[in-house]
């Protein structure tokens, strides 16, 4: 059944595809509505499964387009969505013509069930694609849709943004995020674990509460106790944490429960280092305190003037201010005036008179001149005492030297500005209120956060920033606090909610401290908007849950592994795929599991991943399963890095493609046979030509033979007559002899005889060559790679296709000198046959085919260009698709280039095409260079009755020679069978085994003509001195005693394989 799936998310497509393929659907995928329509119009489908929210064209529009199209409207349409989950949405979807509406996320199993039931219903005809769509509703829907789409697109962007943020958690979040099991043991952390001083490896498994100081520990333990009792518990607290180096750290922790089936299964926490914030808060408080201090700075002198007696008395402070000694002032109003700066005397006199006679307050600033000539600023205040008649009697007051005060005021102003600056530049909202809750200051961040300007809130009660019910409760709350200052709300971070000017309510983190300014109690509140954090936490939990579902139940292997390929964690599917238990896997690396031939590529990719040369890689490679069979897997591995970009672990997804590979191999073989069929006529010509003249020559030679026989008889007769005739005239004899030779044209025959034989031999050589080339090409596929010269492969290919080329094209060869590479020559021949036949077919009259080979750094390039008609641009993208052909029916399978592409991919190479209409086409095949001489490929059999020894020996061999293949046998009998099939270079043979002993086995090997050349290393665990002698007597090439170190084994192998290594 053909199903089209439409979703803009790659991973969803992958998941859906896998699910649907499992229930035997043919799946085509499209990333949005536009692409889906293209595909719908190009193929025939029985079902469409589509997401709604997608870029370019969304699901609703797609559905309407489909229903508008007469050809497509009968295809049943199923929506599945995570965004439009409302019932109204379903109604609209159904109005738009959809047949089914599935809400995400559903478990994969459940989803499969739904899809299966839909497919069943489709098959039974219960779901018919064609449903009438009402015109009017369509219009309404259109409008609604457009609005929604706009809104949702925006939302999607935001979501994507935050998702991105969260997916790259390690880079963006400064908080340490961790997860625990239900007992509080840490199971996972992000890179910010560094704040604790521990590495992730060290911290995982530790109990979270152990990280807290004894006085903080209670809070943590309390959480886990509560969480275990009541699902869904979450908490927020500030604690002190002990770092690895023993130092403590102030941390605020937001922790919540991860629940599965309403059961608490672990904690999820976010820890923020607030040590710095604490320090900042302290600093702010200190600053406010210094402001209060500054206000107290003043030096006051006081004086008294007896008006009636005109006696003026100064205090010591006042003398000091005026720069006088006590005796120097005569104590009269006039002497005082003398000290006043001449310019200010009138002002002072006026102020005094007004105070004395007009009852005005005396409050004046003036300058004085000190005896040393210095000027000072003075602020004076005074009060006047009147007698009963109302006449002034006495005046007393203060003088204050405000020269310094002026400076202080400046300083004060400075300090205030600085404070303002601190406040305004702070990223956190800082609001100060007085005892009544009236807002005193409101920094820029607060304006941004609440949407109010300073002017709008100044002097108003802070409760305006709170939503109900907090708003009404705040006054009484504040009162209660003031009465009972032991209240716990201070100096503790709380999560509260705020209300913006536009009415929206959002989560906040609030820290309140109190400051006393001039005995005036001021509360300083520091607020942080945690909307994003909350959202992110939620999404993270969501994503965690989704991941868990995929991890447990998707038909994909999922594995986390470290930088050395060691398996840290593998999901059940992966374990089932390979047949190993979790324990077994965790003792293994990927290299142990990988087939020897694929190890180098795997290793290189892992190294590149760790070294940041790539972020992910995708390989099709083979694994050794526990049962000894092979599995082909499509593997995608990506790196997870910490905030500094350092590799942490890799995340691999595995899909079993063994069956697909088997089909591919069959397909390749079938295509090859098809191309042989195509070449057959040409090859027949190539063979029939030489056979023709060989046969003809043999007939001629036969005739010559007869003639020569006859000639010899005649000569014999002539000689006989000459001998018998005594009177023989020598001259006449010679004449007769010459006549005989001339008669049969002896010279001519002898000359031709030589040529005919030489030409015929040349002909047989040609036939032999072409037959062997053809045999090489057509033999049942060898999958193993061997070392080969690409130029040589090309020459052989040319001899196969020569007849197709030579009449239509001039072939120009530009072969560079190439090193040998590891490849499969048979399959490469198939590729080159395809490219050359295509090239000649592109040439309409007569043209040139150029074959160029050269080496570029670490790769070999083969360029095959023709001067043919070229490939139209719109077809250029399709030429590697299977079954795409421009040839008339019967002439091409449409598989040639598709299979060539696969073959080149198998060689980890690239095939690229460049074409210009009317000018020609160039195919470039790039093959990576593997230095064949660096790769030691050994075939080894390990024979030992002890499984542990077998395992450790084969592992050692694999590690020493990563490209070797190792087979194992439990006893001599199995080893014997294996040897015939496997043809090993080297046998590591235990001496003491049940059945045939190692010594006996070794003797048999060395006595057999077939196996004699194989090297045998005998191994014993017994401490018996003459064992070595016996081993060498049995013909062993080397002898080792258990336990064997890798070094010893290496030396032994080097010794016995000296010719090979």
């Amino acid at each position: 059944m053909n199903v089209l799936i439409v979703d803009d998310k790659e991973e969803t497509l992958y998941l859906l595809e896998t699910l649907l393929k499992n229930i035997e659907c043919d799946v085509v995928s499209a990333s949005n509505g536009v692409k889906a329509l293209e595909k719908l119009r190009a193929g025939s489908f029985k079902l469409i499964v589509s997401d709604i929210l997608m870029p370019e064209m969304d699901g609703f529009r797609l559905c309407m387009e489909v229903k508008k199209d007469n050809k497509l409207k009968d295809i049943p349409f199923v929506f599945y969505t995570a965004t439009y989950t409302d019932e109204k949405d379903e109604l609209i979807a159904l109005k738009a013509g959809a047949n089914k509406f599935i809400r995400k996320p559903v478990e994969p199993v459940e989803f499969t069930k739904i899809i299966q039931s839909v497919i069943r219903e489709v098959k039974e005809g219960k779901i018919k694609g064609d449903r009438p769509v009402l015109e009017k509703e369509k219009e309404v829907f259109k409008l609604y849709n457009q609005r929604l789409v706009k809104k949702l697109e925006q939302k999607m962007l935001e979501l994507k943004e935050s998702e991105k943020k969260y997916h790259s958690l390690c880079e963006n979040v400064n908080d340490w995020i961790f997860s625990t099991d239900q007992d509080g043991c840490i199971t996972g952390v992000n890179s910010r674990v560094e704040m604790t001083g521990y590495s992730s490896g060290e911290i995982i498994g530790k109990r979270f509460t152990e990280l807290l100081t004894p006085r903080s520990r209670e809070v943590g333990i309390n959480f886990f106790q509560r969480a275990n009792k009541e699902a869904g518990t979450s908490d927020f607290f500030e604690v002190e944490m002990i770092k690895k180096d023993g130092k403590t750290l102030n941390v605020e922790i937001s922790i919540s429960s991860i629940c599965k089936a309403k059961k608490f299964i672990g904690g999820f926490g976010i820890a923020r280092n607030i040590t710095k914030r604490r320090r900042d808060q302290e600093r702010l408080r200190a600053s406010l305190y210094s402001l209060a201090e500054a206000q107290r700075i003043a030096h006051l002198g006081n004086w008294e003037w007896n008006i009636l007696k005109n006696e003026l008395h100064f205090s010591d402070e006042a003398y000091r201010i005026f720069g006088l000694k006590a005796q120097e002032i005569n104590g009269s109003y006039e002497t005082f005036l003398n000290s006043v700066h001449p310019d200010d005397r009138e002002t002072v006199k006026k102020a005094v008179n007004e105070a004395l006679y007009e009852n005005k307050p005396y409050n004046v600033d003036y300058r004085i001149v000190l005896p040393n000539g210095a000027e000072r600023f003075i602020h004076a205040q005074a009060e006047v005492v009147f007698d009963q008649s109302g006449a002034p009697v006495r005046m007393f007051g203060t003088v204050q030297d405000i020269t310094d005060l002026n400076k202080t005021q400046e300083a004060l102003l400075d300090s205030a500005t600085r404070l303002r600056n601190i406040l305004d530049n702070a990223a956190e909202s800082i609001i100060t209120i007085d005892e009544q809750g009236i807002i005193k200051s409101f920094n820029l961040a607060s304006e941004r956060m609440f949407g109010y300007s300073m002017n709008e809130v100044a002097g108003k009660n802070v409760k305006m920033l709170m939503p109900e019910p907090y708003r009404s409760k705040h006054d009484s709350y504040l009162k209660r606090y003031l009465k009972d200052s032991e209240s716990r709300t201070l100096n503790v971070v709380r999560e509260v909610v705020g209300r913006r000017k536009n009415g929206t309510i959002f989560p906040l983190e609030l820290y309140v401290s109190e400051v006393r300014l001039e005995k005036q109690l001021t509360f300083v509140g520091i607020l942080i908007d945690i909307t994003k954090r909350k959202l992110a936490e939620e999404q993270l939990r969501d994503s965690e849950a989704r991941f868990r579902a995929i991890y447990e139940s998707a038909p994909l292997g999922i594995v986390l592994s470290d930088s050395k390929g060691k398996i840290l964690q593998a999901n059940p599917v992966f374990r089932r795929m390979l047949g190993y238990s979790e324990d077994e896997l965790q003792r293994m690396t990927f290299l142990d599991l990988t087939l020897a031939e694929d190890r180098q590529a795997t290793l290189k990719n892992i190294v590149d991943l760790v070294d940041e040369k790539q972020d992910f890689f995708r390989l099709e490679k083979r694994y050794n399963l526990k049962d000894g069979s092979l599995m082909w897997a499509d593997v995608i591995v990506s790196a997870v890095r910490d905030a500094d970009g350092k590799f942490k672990y890799s995340f691999g997804i595995f899909k079993d493609i063994t069956e697909k590979k088997r089909m591919e191999t069959m397909l390749i073989q079938a295509e090859k046979m098809a191309s042989i069929g195509q070449l057959a006529a040409g090859i027949a010509h190539e063979i029939n030509n030489p056979i023709g003249f060989i046969d003809s020559n043999l007939n001629t030679l036969n005739r010559y033979g007869k003639k020569l026989t006859e000639y010899i008889h005649q000569v014999h007769d002539l000689l006989k007559t000459a001998v018998e005739d005594d009177d023989c005239d020598p001259e006449e004899f010679i004449n007769e002899f010459n006549q005989l030779s001339q008669n049969i044209k002896l010279d001519h025959i002898l000359e031709n005889l030589k040529d005919a034989i030489a030409e015929s031999l040349d002909g047989t050589a040609r036939v032999k060559k072409i037959v062997s080339d053809l045999k090489d090409f057509s033999r049942t596929d060898k999958t193993e790679f061997e070392s080969a010269d690409i130029n040589n492969v090309l020459e052989k290919t040319l001899s196969l296709v020569w007849n197709e080329l030579k009449y239509k094209a001039e072939v120009v060869k530009e072969f560079g000198s190439l090193p040998q590479i590891e490849c499969n020559p048979g399959r490469l021949t198939q590729v080159f046959v395809n490219l050359l036949v295509n090239a000649v077919q592109a040439i309409e009259q007569h043209g040139v085919i150029k074959i160029k080979t050269f080496q570029v750094r670490n790769s070999i390039k083969v360029q095959i260009s023709d001067t043919g008609k070229g490939i139209p641009e719109d077809q250029l993208g399709k030429i590697f698709d299977a079954f795409f052909t421009t040839k008339e029916p019967g002439k091409g399978t449409g598989l040639g280039l598709s299979i060539s592409y696969n073959i080149i991919s198998e060689h980890r190479g690239i095939i690229a095409v460049e074409s210009k209409k009317g000018v020609g086409t160039t195919f470039t095949v790039t093959l990576p260079l593997t230095k064949a001489d660096e790769v030691v490929k050994l075939k080894v059999i390990v024979v030992d009755d002890d499984a542990m020894v077998r395992e450790s020996l084969s592992k050692m061999v694999s590690q020493l020679y990563p490209f070797s293949s190792v087979a194992i046998a439990e006893n001599g009998f199995d080893a014997g069978n294996l040897m015939n099939l496997y043809e090993p270079d080297l046998i590591l043979l235990d001496i003491t085994m049940p059945g045939i002993s190692g010594l006996e086995m070794c003797k048999r090997i060395k006595d057999s003509t077939k196996h004699r050349k194989r090297k045998v290393v005998l191994i014993t665990g017994r401490v018996n001195d003459d064992m070595q002698q016996q081993a060498y007597a049995a013909g062993a090439d080397a002898f080792l005693r258990k336990p064997i170190t890798a070094q010893e084994l290496k030396q032994a192998i080097q010794k016995v394989m000296a010719g090979r290594l």
């Binding site: 006529a681 040409g682 027949a684 010509h685 190539e686 063979i687 029939n688 030509n689 030489p690 056979i691 023709g692 003249f693 060989i694 046969d695 003809s696 020559n697 007939n699 001629t700 005739r703 001519h748 031709n752 040529d755 005919a756 030409e759 040349d762 002909g763 007849n803 030579k806 009449y807």
Partner: protein, 166 residues
Amino acid sequence: MSEKHTILLIDDEVNVLRALQRLFEGEDCIILTAENAAEGLKILEQAPVDLIISDHRMPGMSGLEFFEKTLPQYPDVIRIILTGQAELEMAIKAINNGCVYKFILKPWNNYDLKITVKRALEQYHLLQDNKDLTKELKKRDAVLQELEKKHPGITRMPEDGIYRLS
């Protein structure tokens, strides 16, 4: 074969030309060879040829094309295709165009090829003789008619067998 025949062999494979030359060496005929159709054309222009054996698939002009091209100018020459490839399409074309006497597949049988050539040449010879005789007859007839014009009645035999000259 009463007189020396000329046979032209065309094949891009020299070894085939040499083998065929050896095949016909005992026969009383002149063998000419060409390694491609263009060379064959030149030879045709220079010497009278009675029979042509040509390969079909050759670089440049194919054997069939060569035959089609030379048919109008040399209608009497006997044409034989000797090819390693049994292409039905080509065979049909060769026969329908009526320009090929025989269609022989490689590898060939020496005896058969020789016989075929011999028969073909006999046929050619007969045809040629026939043509010559007809030509001679026409010539004689023309003389007679001329004579009759000059001396009416001279060509008619009188019953008594006596010619009377007036």
